[in-house]
Structures are given as C-alpha cells and as structure tokens.
Symmetry: C2
Subunit: 190 residues, 2 copies
Amino acid sequence: MVKSRRTRELSRLELAALGLVLTGGPCTAYWVQRQFQESLSSFFSGSAGAVYPAIERLEQRGLIEGRTSRNGERVSRQYKLTAGGKKTLRRWLLPPLPAEDIAFTMDPVRTRIFSLSALSPSERLRFVDEALAKTRRRVEEVRDDTELLGQSGDLYSYLGGLGVLHEAEARVRWLEEVRAALQEEGGSDD
Amino acid sequence: MVKSRRTRELSRLELAALGLVLTGGPCTAYWVQRQFQESLSSFFSGSAGAVYPAIERLEQRGLIEGRTSRNGERVSRQYKLTAGGKKTLRRWLLPPLPAEDIAFTMDPVRTRIFSLSALSPSERLRFVDEALAKTRRRVEEVRDDTELLGQSGDLYSYLGGLGVLHEAEARVRWLEEVRAALQEEGGSDD
DNA sequence: TGTGACATGTAATATGTTACATGATTGA
DNA sequence: TCAATCATGTAACATATTACATGTCACA
C-alpha cells in the first residue's frame, strides 16, 4: 500500500467538479462546465479555461478517470470517479468542517453599503430601492427554478436551490431593515 | 475637460478598498488591510500581497492620493479619496446594479450538498448536524459582533453586520429543512 | 443551408494567496 | 527586554477570467 505524498489541497472548483462527476458520471468535461453555468450559484463562471484544466488536474491525481469514446467522427472523453476520488469527497464531507467554510459569506450589495456616505440621503434610498426591487425579482426566479428542481426528483439539487432561495429571501428582509434605518437617519436632502 | 479613456474595470477588492479609504481616510494601506481582516465578511483575506498592490493601482489611476508622513523614524503613507475616486464610488452605487451582483451567492456548505451521495444515510445526518451546530455558533458570534457595531454608532458597519447575521440565520433555517428532508429520505443505513 | 448545441481546448492577462522579510514603536 | 502591533513591501505560485479557435452533429 502506497502512502500518498503530501500534495496541495484541492481548490473549491476542483472539489465541486469532483462532486459533479460523482453525481453525473460518466460525463464529459463539457457537461461539468454546463452544470456550473446553469447552477443557481453563480460563484463559478463555468468558463472552459477553468473547467478543462481542473478536470485534467483531477485526472492527473487519479481522482477521476477518463475514457475517450468515438461516435462517428465525434470524439468525447467520459470521466468517472475512481475509488480515490470517492475517498477524497468523503474526506471533504466528513467532520471537521473548516471554520473558514462556515464563516464564508459574500454579498456584493452588502459590500457597497460601507460606501454609502458617498451618496446624498435621497440617493441612498434610491440605491436601496433598486437593490430591493431586483432582489425581490431574483427571489421569484429562484423560487420558480427551485420548484422545478423539486419536481425533477433530484433531492440534492432541490435542497441546494432551497439554500439559494433562503439566502435571497434573507437579503430582502435585510434590505427592508436597511431601508427603514436610512429613512430614519435620512432627514433633509443634500 | 479630458475624456477618460476606456480602461479595465476595477476589481471587487479595489472597489471595496476605495470605499474603505472614503470612510477611513486619511488612512494607511495597513489600516485598509486590517479592515479586511476584521470584517465579518471573510471574502478577502486581507493579505498584504493583495492590499498593497491594490492601493497602488488605485493611486496610479488617480482615485486616491497618498502623502508620505514621518513620525520620528517611522514613515507611513496616508491615503485619501480624490474627486475622481468619489465619482467612481458614486458610479458604483448608483443604478443600475449589475445582475451578476444581485445573483452572486456562495456557501461552501451548500456546495458540499451536491456530493452527499458519497455518504451513507447516517453519515449524511452527521454532516448536516455538524454544519448546523457550527452555523448556530456562528450566528451567536455574528450577533454579538453586530451588537457591538450598533453601539459604536457606525451605522453602515452595523447594517453590514446585520446583513451577515441575516444570512447566517437563513443558513440555519435551511440546514434544519435539509435535516428533515434527509431523515425522511434516510430509511435504513449503509 | 444554416443555426445552435455539443465538445475540446489555448493564450493573454490579472488577481489573489501564502509565505517571507524587514524594521519601528508601544506598553507590560 | 520582550511581545505585540504598526507599517511596508516582495516572491513564488496557482488559479480564474475573457476571448479566441476549431470542428461535429442534429434539426429545421
């Protein structure tokens, strides 16, 4: 039995891609790419320049294995998880969950809040109102998409969608509070 | 009047740093770095290797201006926003808010959900229970920090903290739903 | 005949990460 | 005097982004 040498940790994209190959394999790199693009989470763009190299790295590590197949003139490479790949995924899922992953949070609208003093009181309200309107619309979109996922019978995708929905709804509630606070602070305009 | 030539867009880190200089200026790059490190949002690590170059780029663009000062042997460079910097911030805040910024969402726990089939039913519950416990603890931490921000009188920081709190609470509610769904699906073990 | 989805990649670019390195000042 | 904080940076590295490039296949 070979002791694996210490090697660099997998990036989030690599881990997510590995999980996709588990669920969808055997599948092509292109399919993985589409999953990223269609995902409700837009963290990864699903660009070819990111996905293809990531898949290659996973294969080089022996976490997935590819098999080139031919349909007429068309070649494609189908990947599936190896035993090592599954072990890696299990290590990723089983305790302990790293603190950074629990604390991770990012909202580009929230980032902007800290610069609000560059605007006049009425402009601040305009900012929040736009964010509120667009986030509400986003909630509806996510709700629809999640409902579809629920009907598709894919439990984990549905649960993922539900997570995105909860987050979007939380943003709406938060923005409503922000709006109230700004109105109170507001007073006269510029 | 000089038409500004088309130039690359500012990165999120640059924009966030610009906002920090608005709020905290005149301030040092080190101070900006500390703000990132202490922020409840852990999206940016606040590493010197990211912050110092970003501040330099902002200065080269004329969005902030620095002034080297001397206290005894100690030199430090104090930055403050320029008129152009303020204009840039206002453009960032005023409509339209880009759709990507509204849709942006990332939760490393949620990412893992899609790979849950690598675990046995009882392991899946263990995963969710750990996430739930740690996220609940996180909610308490964020609540405390946000309360302090509220007492500090810095309205925008407080509102930012409130946003993080809402998000953490939403994650707890979501994980509770996930737990229920997994128990229902669960049945027999491995 | 042409469009769009399938499929695979590369190149240029920039950004951010970790780790290293240095030195002054403050306060216990 | 020692540790922590203030303060400024650099180097190596990998990764992700956009844009480009190519070609097949199904179908209307």
